[in-house]
Symmetry: none
Subunit: 417 residues, 2 copies
């Protein structure tokens, strides 16, 4: 199947936002064996959207549009595709009901235009929106398949993964299915990982080995087409084994979860608790942990000690450690050690993670941006401290430091068996 | 002038990289009054690249291509445009000289294919590459302007800024530049804002009024073409005034900054300090604040009290407020009030923000997802508490709650004058 991805939105044409949706969808399509030959961006303009649809439907078998499903006058995609294919718009009752209850539950008057988000094209399959209001649409018409997805990535991604991709797999039906495995690594950079696996990556044919990085984590996707799961496993397992032999100590999951989720699962299995003492990450570590539903079962909370005063008052770090001639300073192994040890014992948690460093862009205490100390205190046993030199902007140093701290705890948890 | 941006590269079609070049070029074009109506992505394939060039040159006056200028067999862009326009490729001697010296200086043998990077089309203007090897190309042919830029952003951006943009400005010569203003709003949702301004938006012609939303913030961009700044101001000011008359209380900045930056600037101007007590936002509020360099001058830190135990121990909330028959509970105005008041006084800060609520997806204490209480304590004066009903996924409720808290503090700071 040949796909074309059309992103609809004037904010893309003005360069106000980056088209990350196209990347996500292109990678997702590639992962199930759908080739993308073109991507297009077009504004919220009927005539030009029709032109884009017309070109795309002639050169592709599948046209995926994102954006323009919202409640405002600018949101044209469903109307325009309806007119292009001469299909009426009809109300999808379950979506309408969902929108109505949403407003009722909040005691807010529903503006009429919100009903537009519950519309679908006649003869189309609805793609439910679990994280927003606009229902998606999938249909086959005049020899081409169309899929309309919302623009906000927080709605688009779960809709595609949960409903759009299964719809496509069903439509592809008879093709030999693609089997894939996902390996997630933390505590190792993308370039180091690729360097370790370079010969494997270079001579890959089948299965394919595709590494890609988000900040702080690296994913490797292995994929092969096969007639049965057994046949696929027979091809995938030796490659996975070869990879694990070299970099297995960094492999924290065989599914698409963040290191924070891997850590929380292990803690919950053991009925253990975690607290955090953050300086340079400024709350990002606890934000990552609390991003997951149910995290409160293991994560009790923490302290963001962004000033020496708070490190002293809330974490009982002696001022002579933090400041003055010859003191280790706020960014030091000693401070990281005390932050973790003191918080763990005062809150009676099983583990405490501490992070103190220089996020940048400027130096601090004469120490360079990217220098980060991470402490891990446990109920029984000594406090471990690592010294890390992390690259990147302020935002990236914060994220890498938080992920590195989680990796340290994950190593501790799995090494305990 | 109407532009189309074509990004060439199979790695874009596979979703291996995000097309940040298109965003950069679109924003740059918009800033000098060039409208972009379409963006396209195409792989390293002659036939499909010709197709993309053909479509683009018919609907635009300016076609900007990025990518495919490198030394390898895959790098086709110059060859393909040359054949498309029947223009020969000729060597650009200064670029060739630069490449030769580069290899000589390193004592490395220059592979023949590197010479390809010094080629340009006959009749074209060279765009020098100060950060790499491939020379860029700009030309006018058959009523359309073409510009070929390298793919790597670190070569493309300086080439465009240093040489491409001046070339375009010269080509545009007599055209009137675009003047724009950016208005940033918080504390109001996109649909409510649009509803308030619907008649203005619907009858907009010149200036244009373009609202767009990121979670928790809404931006409106006003733009007009004019011969002078005075003429532009004369057109933009009445529209801005009309908008402010209706929703001025939510306007926190006239430039592209987040509400956290607006708050930090005001605090720093006054030499005042802030601490945070977070429950459902789980550290996101302090993460947003510490994302900005220099935030430590005003933000001292905070507490993430993700369990009732920590609310009691670290924030001194009485257990009878948090739990038991008839207690207000952790998610209540009373808890929000005490969190803010107690932390502010114990840390001796000028302001404390507190957030407690239900991030979801499940209810908590029988209270629905999206219900969030925000407290604001100040050194002199009573604690304010607001009750908010926020929509969206767990992640979005967290973000909206954090932004709403910042909006509350911002209102307080500006109302003090």
């Amino acid at each position: 199947m040949k796909a074309e991805i059309i992103a609809v939105g004037t904010e893309l044409l003005l360069g106000q936002i980056v088209n990350t949706n196209a990347q996500f969808l292109a990678a997702e399509c590639a992962s199930i064996g759908i080739d993308t030959y073109f991507q297009t961006v077009v504004g919220d303009n009927e005539q030009r959207l029709v032109e884009a649809l017309d070109i795309a439907s002639k050169r592709a078998d599948l046209v995926i549009c994102t954006g323009g499903l919202g409640p405002t006058q600018d949101d044209l995609t469903k109307d325009v595709l309806g007119r292009y294919l001469t299909k009426a718009l009809i109300l999808h009752e379950p979506s309408m009901e969902r929108i109505r209850s949403f407003f009722e539950a909040r005691g807010v008057h529903m503006v009429e235009s919100n009903a537009r988000q519950a519309l679908m094209l006649e003869g189309s399959d609805p793609l439910p929106n679990d994280t927003g209001h606009a229902v998606g649409v999938a249909l086959e018409a005049e020899g081409c398949r169309y899929m309309l997805l919302p623009g906000p990535p927080k709605e688009m991604k779960p809709m595609f993964t949960g409903y759009g991709k299964p719809w496509l797999l069903k439509a592809m039906g008879e093709e030999r299915p693609l089997y894939s495995r996902m390996l997630k690594f933390a505590g190792i950079g993308e370039s180091t990982l690729e360097h370790e696996l370079l010969d494997l990556i270079e001579r890959q044919q089948d299965p394919t080995i595709a590494p890609y990085a988000k900040e702080g984590e690296v994913t490797i996707r292995l994929a092969t087409k096969a007639s049965s799961k057994e046949e696929a496993d027979g091809k995938l397992q030796p490659v996975e084994d070869a990879i694990c032999q070299r970099v297995g100590q960094y492999l924290y999951a065989r599914e698409d979860i963040g290191i924070e989720e891997a850590v929380l699962r292990l803690l919950k299995e053991r009925g253990e608790t975690l607290v955090t003492a953050e300086s340079c990450t400024g709350g990002l570590l606890s934000d990552l942990l609390t991003g997951l539903p149910g995290s409160s079962a293991a994560f009790k909370g923490g302290i963001v000690s962004y000033s020496n005063g708070l490190k002293h008052k809330l974490l009982e770090i002696p001022m002579e450690v933090l400041e003055g001639e010859g003191a280790p300073g706020a960014v030091s192994d000693r401070t990281a050690e005390l932050m973790a040890a003191n918080l763990r014992s005062s809150l009676d948690a099983d583990y405490a993670l501490s992070v103190t460093g220089v996020a940048g862009p400027d130096s601090s205490e004469g120490k360079p941006p990217g220098l980060v100390y991470i402490g891990l205190a446990k109920r029984d046993g000594p406090v471990e401290v690592t010294k890390n030199r992390l690259g990147g902007s302020r935002e990236i140093v914060k994220l890498r430091a938080a992920k590195q701290a989680l990796y340290m705890l994950w190593r501790q948890l799995v090494s305990q068996g």
